[in-house]
Each structure stands twice: as C-alpha cells, then as structure tokens.
C-alpha cells in the first residue's frame, strides 16, 4: 500500500487552489467552480485515507459529497442565471444588496 501523504498533499493543493479561487475571484461562476475544486480536494483526502485504512466509509463520504456538490452546482447555477437575467452581471462586488 502506498503512503497517503502524496494524496493528502494533492488534496491540500486542490483545496488551496479552491480557497484562493473563492476568495480572490469576482466572477460568481468561477467562485462556484472553485468551490467544486475544494470539494474534490476533500474527496481525494477521503478516498485516500479510506483506502489506507481499508475502511469503505471514506468512499461513501466521497459519494455523499459528490451528490451534494451536484445538487449545489445545479441550484447555484440556476441562481446565477436568475441573477444574471436580473442584473446582467455576476460580478460579486456589484451584487452587494445584502449590505446594510
């Protein structure tokens, strides 16, 4: 069995790319994609550790996350389209109506 550290490193890198994407980008679509990357980074970690320990729970969790991610992407994109139709932009700095 291979050591999980390489996978965990990969997982961390993916997660980090996602975080940077979420925090730094202004395009809501990109942010949504970055979130997906973060989720996948987590998935890698789940599977790696699960397989290292011989426990299927890790894989189960990965599936769970993928399901949720799919749902989230669907709802999120729908919202984005709705917002775009309304505001003709998906730049989050211009979408600050929740501000006080």
């Amino acid at each position: 069995m291979m050591e999980p550290s390489a996978y965990l490193l990969l997982s961390g890198i993916l997660f980090g790319i996602g975080v940077v994407g979420v925090v730094a980008r202004k395009n809501a679509l990109i942010i949504l994609m970055s979130v997906e990357i973060m989720l996948n980074g987590v998935n890698v970690a789940f599977i790696a550790v699960g397989s290292h320990l011989g426990d299927p729970t890790g894989s189960v969790f990965a599936f769970m996350v993928m399901t949720v991610a799919a749902a989230e992407a669907a709802v999120g994109l729908a919202i984005l389209i709705a917002i775009y139709r309304l505001k003709e932009t998906i730049d989050i700095t211009e979408l600050s109506v929740l501000k006080w």
Binding site: V19, V22, V23, A24, K26, A28, I31, I92, T93, L95, S96, V97, L98, K99, W100
Partner: protein, 675 residues
C-alpha cells in the same frame, strides 16, 4: 312631644339632599337647554347682574324647593331637639346608625348620626339661619341665569354641613368637613367666568385641604391609639388608656394639634386664614351662610366636640388660645383699613372666629359655642344687610362710593345697625353676653391669662371701631355714589328684608338664654351643654372663686373699650372725615402694610407657591425628561449605536464573507494545532 320623632333624625340631612336631587334634575332638564341656547346666541355677557328675563316656571319651583327643604329640615330639627330636651340631662344622647360605611379588619366606621346638646345647637343654627338665607337667596339671586345650579350648591352645602355636625364619629364628620369645603369651592366660584372668582374658589379648596391633611393624620393617630373613631367610645376610653400609659400627654398633644391644623384651615385662623377674605368673590348670601354663620365655625365645633381630648394637653390648649387671640387682633387691624364692605366683614369674621378659639383654648367651650351661635345671627345679618346694600347699588361694594344710604334703605340700615351694636358688644344684645363670657373666662379660667384678656378686649375695641366705620361710611354722611347708580337705589324686596328683620330679632334676643349669673340671669345655655362639656367644666369653673366685683369691673372695662372704639369711629368718620386720610399719610409704611393685609398673600405666593411651581417645572424638565428619560433613552441609543457600528461588517460582498470564513477556519485549526 312624641319622642318617636328622633327616629326620623335622618330626615334632617336627607331633606336638603332631596333638594339637591330635585334642583339638580331641574338644572339638568329645564335650565341647561336655556343656558345652552343663550350661549349659542353668542351672548358673552353673563355677569353677576345680567338683564331681566321673564322668569320661566321652573325658577319659581326652584325658589320654592330650595328654601322649603331647609325649612322642613329646621322643623324636624326643632322637634328632635325638643324630644331630646324632654329626656333627663345625662340621657341626652341619641345615636342613629344608618348603615355600615367602611369596615376593614379591625377598622369600622358606620354612617351614623348623633344628636346631643352640642349637635342640637349646631343643627338649629344651620337649618334656622340656613333657611332664612335660602329665602333671602331666592330674592337676591333672582336675576341669575344659573338659578337652579345655585340652589343645588346651596342645598348640597346644607346637607354637608348637617352631616358634619350630626356625624357620630370623626370619619363622618370628615365627610361633612370636606363636603362643605367642596360646596364652598363651588359657590365661591359660582361666577366661574370671572377669573378672580374661580381663583378664590380654588384657593379656598386647597388651603382647606392643607388643614384636612392635618385632620386626617390626627384621625389616624386617634384610631391607632383608641381603636375607634366613634365619639362616645373615644371619650369613654380616655381614663382607661391614660391609666395604662397608652394615651400619653404627647400623643394627646399630637392628636389635638393635628386636629387643630384642620380647624385653622376650615375656620380661617392663622396661618391658614388667607382664603376667607378672597372667598367674598362668591354671592353675598353664600358669604353669609358659609363664610360667616356655619361652615367657618366647623373648626370651633370640632375643637369643642373634642374637648375631652384637648383638656388632656395643656400645650394644645395654650396653642388654641394663643392662635385664637392672635388671629382676633391680627385680622381686626386689617379690618380697619379695608374699603370693600364685604372684606371688612370677612376680616371681622376671621377675628370673631379667633374669639371662639380663644374661648375653647381657655377651656370655656360653652362660651365658644355660645359666641358661635350669636355670631351666626349677627354676622349673617351683617352679610345679608351688605348684600342688600350691594343689591341696591347694582353690585357696588366699595364703601368709598356709598354714603347717606340710611334714607334710601331704612330696613337694611336699622337691622344692620342692630347687628353692629351686637357685634360691638353693647350690653343687652346677644354679642355682649357671649363676648363678655369669653373675655371673663380668658381672664379667670385655669387655662386663661390676663394677657389673653387684654388682647381680647383690645380686639373688641377695634371691632367696635371698624364696624361703626362701616356703618358711618355706608349709611351716613354725604352720598358718594355714582350718579347712574344713585338713580336706581331701592330698598330690597320682602324676600330679602324679612330674613333681615328676623335675624335682627335674634341678634338682640339670642343672647338672653345665656345671661351670666353675675348679672342676675341664668345661663340656660351652659346648663344645656353641660353634659357634653362635663370634662371641661371643672377647669372652666376655676372662675368660681373670683370676686363678683372683679367680674363686673372687667365687664365694664370691655364695654368701655368698645365705647371708645365707637367714639373714635364717630370722630374720624362723622365729625372729622378728613382725618383718616391724614393719619394714613402720617404713617405710610404701616398703613400700606395693613391695607395690603401685611403682605401675607404675597409672602405665601413668593416663598411657597412659586417655589413649588418652579421646583415642579425643574423636576419635569430637568429631572424627568432629561435625567431619568435620558438614562432610558441612553440605554436605547447605546444598543442602537453598537448595532450601527457592528452592521458595517456586513459588506454584502461575498468575497469578504468567504475570507472571514477562511480566517475563522484558520484560527480554529491553528488553535487546535497549537494546543
């Protein structure tokens, strides 16, 4: 005489109450529409003596009901008193319990009436003099638009006054006590459109309330000491409670002084006398009934009623006597300078009330009540006479604009002159006997002092002086009337002059029931009241061992002082009419001070009234609105302000939220790693 009449004692107050209800209904249903119609027609003239109107039928009814109920009450009173007199002296006490009024825990005060010699005198005076004044009012007030309203108030007053004197415990007395205060307020302010009238009414009520404050506290102390407010029970318990140390002299002094505060309010004594002169804003019959004959004597009645308590405390007795004597001389001096005919009489009333308290203070309760009665006769007569003068002069009250009225108003003049002789203490008239009795007791009684006699005698001289000044200025000399007034001068109608004549008879003969034995008479009055004043008798009869010659000498002395007063008045206001002005100019400071009533009203106003009002404004603006509410609103704005700062965190930019999320995650993970 059927003694069963006593079971109808309740009718005495109930009849005037019936008058209130009937006249009230008439005022509401017959008079109100007329007044409203008139107000709607824009008549802003609604003053004292408006134009003549065709008298609607309801006015005749009111003019009948008002006096009739009081007259009927007088008849019932008379019969009741006769029934009472038929009993043995020690048995002359009749109590009628009407219903339980207030009961709570150990406290109980029934609504009950009590007829005994003292209340007998009082109800006869109240209903008798009251009846005459009601009759007089029907004539005097006949030009008034709110005629029914007047009689509602007047009947209500009679009702309250009867409750005051007939109550069988202090609480019922207090009901009447405040009730007459209310009626006084309503009647002084009868011409409510006049600012001075409504001011005077308010002042009377409030000053009386200050007195009532003392009275009610006295009642509390009395109740928690004796466990009851009932006269008979309280007085019966005195020996027992004194013996076992519950009723100390200090407590007796406290109770009686608190009561006396009430009496100074109601009976216009120093320092609470200030309302009575202003009360002359009311219609003149009201001044006669309330502010001379009956209500203002309530304080004397109360002190006399509580004689057993007062006698426990030498301090209280001394205070009552000194305040009475001081008031007698103080207000008599003010009376000298007043030019308003009613004000002279008002200060005279204050002064005479001082005499009554002087009598009570030296233990001569009988003499005090005797003077109360004779004063009711002659002072009511004087006020009604002055009312007749004012009526004749279309409302003029300034004596400087009168003069020579003797020929125009013969009946008024004669009757008023009789009353003046009585109040001046001319031998043979009622005032002489009662006043002399007081002066003698002030000198001779165990509680008395020669100084009290001297002050009283001096005040008697001043009284004779200012009363004759009034007579000379009003009825003698050259006419100083305004021409248009002089044209309409007329003697008053019979409804007004007949009461005057009856009161004149009483002013003469009223004193004959109490002729002192030194003059060869028999004091029936003292004998009649003896059961009530049994406790005080011993003290007052310290007089017994004084030589007859001394008593006669003092009597002659006081008569001489009175004659001097009369002579001086004749000299200044008949013989040398230019003198008074010169005297006034000679001592301007003194004259102004007396003329302005020693500035007492102003002093009260500046040092008490204004202070309280200004303080209250400060409390409201600075303390309530700025300080307390400032704290309340401060807390609110603190919360609001913090929210205001905190909400800036909500930028609405998703990136910021994501960043703070990340930051939070890093901190938490960092915390667990660092541990």
């Amino acid at each position: 005489m059927v003694s069963g009449i006593l079971d109808f004692l309740w009718l005495v107050p109930a009849l005037p109450l019936l008058g209130v209800i009937l006249n009230g209904a008439i005022a509401l249903f017959s008079e109100r529409p007329l007044l409203l119609a008139e107000a709607a027609h824009g008549g802003s003239h609604g003053d004292a003596h408006g134009g003549h109107h065709a008298a609607p039928a309801y006015r005749k009814l009111v003019a009948f009901i008002g006096p009739a109920v009081v007259g009927a009450a007088f008849v019932v009173s008379l019969l009741s008193v006769m029934a009472l007199a038929a009993r043995a002296p020690h048995d002359r006490l009749f109590v009628q319990v009407l219903f339980p009024w207030i009961q709570a825990g150990g406290f109980s005060a029934p609504a009950a009436l009590q007829l005994d010699p003292l209340s007998s005198v009082m109800i006869l005076v109240v209903t008798g003099v009251g009846f005459l004044i009601h009759v007089y009012s029907a004539g005097y007030m006949s030009h008034e638009k709110a005629f029914a309203r007047y009689f509602v108030y007047l009947n209500l007053f009679t009702f309250a006054m009867l409750i005051l004197v007939l109550g069988s415990n202090y609480l019922v007395m207090f009901v009447g006590w405040e009730g007459v205060g209310l009626c006084s307020y309503l009647l002084i302010g009868y011409w409510y459109e006049k600012k001075s009238a409504s001011d005077a009414g308010k002042k009377a009520f409030i000053v009386n309330r200050i007195g009532d404050f003392g009275f009610i506290l006295g009642m509390f102390l009395l109740f928690w000491t004796f466990g009851t407010l009932d006269y008979t029970q309280v007085f019966a318990k005195i020996p027992l409670l004194s013996a076992n140390g519950i009723l100390t002299t200090e407590i007796a002094t406290a109770i009686t002084l608190l009561f006396f505060i009430g009496a100074t309010g109601k009976s216009a004594q120093i320092p609470l006398y200030v309302w009575l002169p202003d009360a002359m804003e009311g219609p003149t019959p009201v001044s006669a009934l309330i502010h001379a004959a009956t209500m203002v004597t309530a304080g004397v009645y109360m002190v006399a009623r509580s004689n057993a308590l007062y006698l426990l405390s030498p301090v209280s007795m001394a205070v009552v006597a000194v305040v009475g004597a001081a008031t007698a001389i103080f207000s008599a001096t003010i009376g000298i300078t007043q030019n308003d005919i009613k004000r002279v009489l008002a200060y005279s009333t204050v002064s005479q009330l001082g005499y009554m308290f002087l009598a009570c203070g030296v233990g001569a309760f009988t003499a005090g009540i005797f003077h109360l009665m004779t004063h009711a006769f002659f002072k009511a007569l004087l006020f009604l006479g002055s009312g007749s003068v004012i009526h004749a002069l279309s409302g003029e009250q300034d004596m400087r604009k009168m003069g020579s009225l003797k020929k125009h108003l013969p009946i008024t003049f004669t009757t008023m002159f009789v009353a003046t002789l009585a109040i001046a203490g001319i031998p043979g008239l009622s005032g002489f006997f009662s006043k002399d009795e007081i002066l003698w007791k002030a000198f001779s009684s165990g509680h008395g002092h020669p100084a009290l006699w001297a002050v009283g005698a001096l005040a008697a001289g001043i009284t004779a002086f200012y009363m004759f000044r009034l007579i000379f200025m009003t009825f003698f000399g050259a006419s100083r009337m305004e021409p248009h007034v002089e044209k309409h001068v007329h003697e008053s109608p019979f409804s007004m002059t007949v009461p005057l004549m009856l009161l004149a008879v009483l002013s003469v003969a009223g004193g004959w029931i109490g002729i002192p034995e030194v003059l060869g008479g028999h004091n029936y009055f003292e004998e009649w009241l003896a059961p009530v004043f049994a406790h005080g008798a011993a003290a007052a009869h310290g007089a017994a061992h004084h030589p007859v010659a001394l008593e006669m000498g003092l009597m002659a002395g006081s008569v001489a002082v009175a004659l001097c007063g009369i002579g001086l008045a004749y000299y200044l206001y008949r013989a040398r009419t230019e003198k008074p002005k010169k005297i006034a100019e000679a001592v301007p400071g003194l004259y102004d001070a007396v003329y302005n009533k020693y500035y007492v009203d102003e002093i009260y106003d500046i040092f008490i009234v204004r202070r309280i009002v200004d303080g209250s404004v400060w409390l409201w603006r600075a303390f309530d609105a700025a300080f307390i509410d400032g704290i309340v609103n401060g807390v609110a704005s603190l919360v609001r302000g913090s929210g205001d700062r905190l909400r800036r965190v909500q930028t609405g930019v998703v990136g910021n939220y994501a960043f703070s999320l990340l930051l939070g995650a890093v901190i938490i993970v960092g915390y667990f790693l660092a541990r």
